[in-house]
Symmetry: C2
Subunit: 510 residues, 2 copies
């Protein structure tokens, strides 16, 4: 087989099931300087202001255990009010203990990720109560849809990790649903996944099931982290008990945790971007400092989620100019503390149309050029996070693939500058047949997943399908071609036994 | 009238005719550092390589007048082959004469623009043979459609200039069509417009009509330029006679000219980005150097249009990762010579869908973050430039407005950081009613033109319209509310007499 035929064969196989070939899963780094929207002075002003907030106003920490720990550390704790005021020097001392960069290992060793520096990782949508596709329309999430979305996330090479919960399987009982969810993650994907940080129990179950899936014990898993979870603050200036307990369970188990304040400007934070960013920074630093008190050196990620509400309707807006600037500014703040940074791919569209795409691109460009190390909700998010869309998932994968190709540095050397090719072709000539072209054309350019570049007539004859309709067909083809990753049957048996036992315990406790 | 009611009234009037209010026309500057995709060494390598191309290979200049001028300047001219080899020092001496920044005055004094530095200007689509809207479908351009598109470009505040020819009015005779086109520009818009640089005659007619419209004579117009035109090279390494003649007519009349090589990698330039950029740079420098020989200090713009073709179909692709990197690299090359930079908002979609939006956003981000001073085809371009779409025009205006808002620096000071507001609201509270919010909420955030941020139920009850359908309604409302800018009836009479006379001359000559 010639090199060329081999390449073609590889493409065909990659595109099996009727889906177009994708770029391979690969680690990404952003070689370009981040876009700074704040001056160095402005970064320091926000930094100092957020420490003022923590000293003067403090925060609610709704966890007696946390209040005890913080009191023992010498902070001003009001136990009745569940409130803490933080000394600025203590905050900075604690935050300085967090590592600037760390690795999370995937079950598929080739799909491990690095968070920090100029590494970029994309993870799928997490948390929507509903899902939607062109066949079934908009509907509450079911376990079947959940599993299909996980299969799709496993199939999309643009995603480094799967989402924390692509859709809520609301047909399963809420108090034991997480066990089915984790079992699905373990069996349907070999990418890194996230347990739910809503209380200690859900984290502990996730740790236990990951140990069973990998054959590691808890110290082994702590030594080579394989999970990641996210908590949100209850902005303004409050963090609830289950979130704190879940976060503590994660860091005690040596697993990385993202701390993401939920600062929608005008609603949960000041209407001014500087105010929202100051509050975001205060909340993130306080929780991160607390987690460093719990376990010095724990791997944590600074999360930014500052957007704004539509002041006429109160509806949250995403992918806006404010969102893009806050995302870039958030990256500057995270780098100020040498912390890995998490952002998101967001939009507020109600259908997978031009708005969904342009709001998402605003988010993606800002996240990537803000040097976000982890871009949450990178595929599938619609309606401000209320819906996981199958079609949007594929269109987002295209946008992520494009961004990944954009991050490949241009090669500039004698061969690529190709003066000989210009000489061969001559003025007014054509490069299609030039030797330089023939040697490179198969891999020279980005190959699209969804984009249709045919001329109007060919496109019309092929059914005049929109990008959303093409994405629908691709999602179906990927699901048809999906194959689960290998898992030792003995390990699966142990997991099933664990799930059965835990369900029994939970049912009994209820 | 309270301040708040006055603001609301202003909004209503701005949104007359049923169209949502727009952000006002305003000059833009990009306060952020450009994204550099090339290292300083790579810029120099491309620079030196492009001078090698001009020395070793040279270029076809298909104009006897140009060949004479270049021979007199001491360059190696092959008159029979219509070919020139350029000395690298001569090129750099000439290019250095071009001004780094200049102003173009609009008939509406408030709509003058600056090209150079970190100024950003958007102009409408130019050149498509077809147009399209949801009512009338895809059709060859007519003079009626041409006029409607100019009216729309006049109405969209996001556009600083109108496009060079939003659609070709192919129902008018080709040899005198430009006279009707210029008359339409003069009567339908007070934004800066472009005469066609296809030969000297068409430029001279444009200059004459602009003089009649403004009351200026030719020296007066030369002293305060009010027109701009673009020429493309016939890549590779060739520029035709009419383009050269038109370009010379522009610079002799003191009007700014854009030189844009047409370097689609793999077709009209090497398949490698570095090769395409080297050729783009060589062609742009050669033509700019020639124009500086014609008129030292003539205001010129370095145009970049490097994209790639789909190597499977030969179709041009736009808004790709290659396009985005080439756009950013082109900005670095232009800045290397202290020349204003022109880029474009492009896409290859066949309909106004998610692909049209994400390819356009790739182009817009790259253009703006590459510090393009002039973004051509910024609204309305579809199908790789074969169609001017009414709906795309409105959706692009939204994306441009968003980018304009993104370029507004974040205010960071005591008031905007708003610690007092956080204190007022308290942990777990809500900022909707806070004094800080009430004082700012009306102007705090970007107001969308097309985006619909309502929740799914409200959106569904309102007709479940896609962004493209909403854009259609907005285009119609803007056309309904359109009013032509004032023009002295005596001047219009003179223009009409000129058009009649010129049409007679052209008919007689045919």
């Amino acid at each position: 087989m010639t090199r060329l035929t081999a390449r073609r064969a590889a493409r065909r196989s990659a595109g099996s099931g009727g889906a177009p070939p994708q770029a391979p899963w690969r680690p990404l780094r952003n070689p370009y300087r981040p876009i700074d929207v704040l001056s160095a002075d402005q970064v320091e002003f926000i930094h100092e202001s957020s420490l003022d907030v923590l000293e003067r106003l403090g925060m609610d920490f709704w966890s007696p255990a946390a209040l005890d720990r913080l009191a023992r550390a010498g902070l001003a704790v009001d136990r009745a009010g569940q409130h803490v005021r933080f000394d600025r020097h203590w905050i900075m001392e604690q935050v300085a203990k967090a590592p600037p960069e760390f690795t999370i290992r995937a079950r598929h060793a080739g799909r491990s990720i690095v968070l920090g520096g100029n590494h970029v990782n994309f993870s799928g949508v997490g948390g929507p109560p509903n899902c939607s596709d062109l066949d079934g329309g908009r509907r509450p999430g079911s376990f079947k849809d959940f599993c299909d979305l996980v299969r799709l996330e496993q199939s999309l090479n643009a995603l480094h990790l799967v989402g924390s919960q692509p859709v809520a399987p609301i047909d399963l009982p809420a108090e034991m649903r997480h066990l089915d969810v984790y079992r699905a993650f373990v069996t349907l994907t070999d990418k890194i996944w996230s347990p739910s940080a809503l209380g200690r129990e859900r984290i502990d179950d996730g740790i236990e099931m990951m140990c069973l899936a990998t054959g590691l014990d808890r110290p082994g898993l702590a030594a080579t982290p394989m999970l990641i979870a996210n908590i949100n603050t209850n902005s303004p200036l409050r963090v609830d008990g289950p979130m704190l307990d879940g976060a503590v369970a994660m860091v005690e188990a040596g697993q990385p945790l993202i701390v993401t304040p939920f600062t929608l400007a005008g609603a949960m934070s000041p209407v001014s971007l500087a105010g929202a960013l100051t509050q975001q920074n205060a909340e993130a630093l306080a929780v991160i400092a607390y987690l460093q008190l719990v376990k010095p050196g724990a791997p944590v990620i600074y999360g930014g989620f500052t957007s704004n509400v539509d002041m006429r309707s109160g509806a949250p807006a995403f992918g806006t100019p404010e969102y893009a600037r806050a995302t870039l500014a958030g990256g500057q703040m995270a780098r100020r503390y040498r912390l890995p940074y998490r952002s998101s791919n967001t939009n507020a569209a109600n259908t997978v149309d031009a708005q969904a795409a342009y709001e998402s691109e605003m988010s993606i460009w800002a996240a990537v050029m803000g040097h976000a190390n982890l871009v949450y909700h990178a595929t599938g998010w619609l309606e401000g996070g209320l819906v996981a869309s199958f079609e949007k998932m594929v269109i987002d994968a295209e946008m992520l693939q494009m961004m990944a190709a954009f991050l490949e540095p241009i090669v500039v050397d004698r061969e690529s500058v190709a003066i000989d090719a210009m000489e061969e072709v001559g003025p007014g000539g054509h490069f299609f047949g030039a030797a330089h072209t023939m040697a490179r054309y198969e891999t020279a350019f980005y190959q699209p997943l969804v984009s249709d570049w045919r001329n109007f007539q060919s496109w019309q004859e092929a059914g005049a399908r929109s990008a959303t309709e093409r994405a629908h067909a691709i999602a179906k083809a990927l699901l048809k071609a999906y194959e689960p990753p290998p898992l030792d049957p003995a390990r699966l048996e142990a997991i099933d036994a664990f799930v059965a036992r835990r369900k029994g315990e939970i049912a009994k406790a209820a």
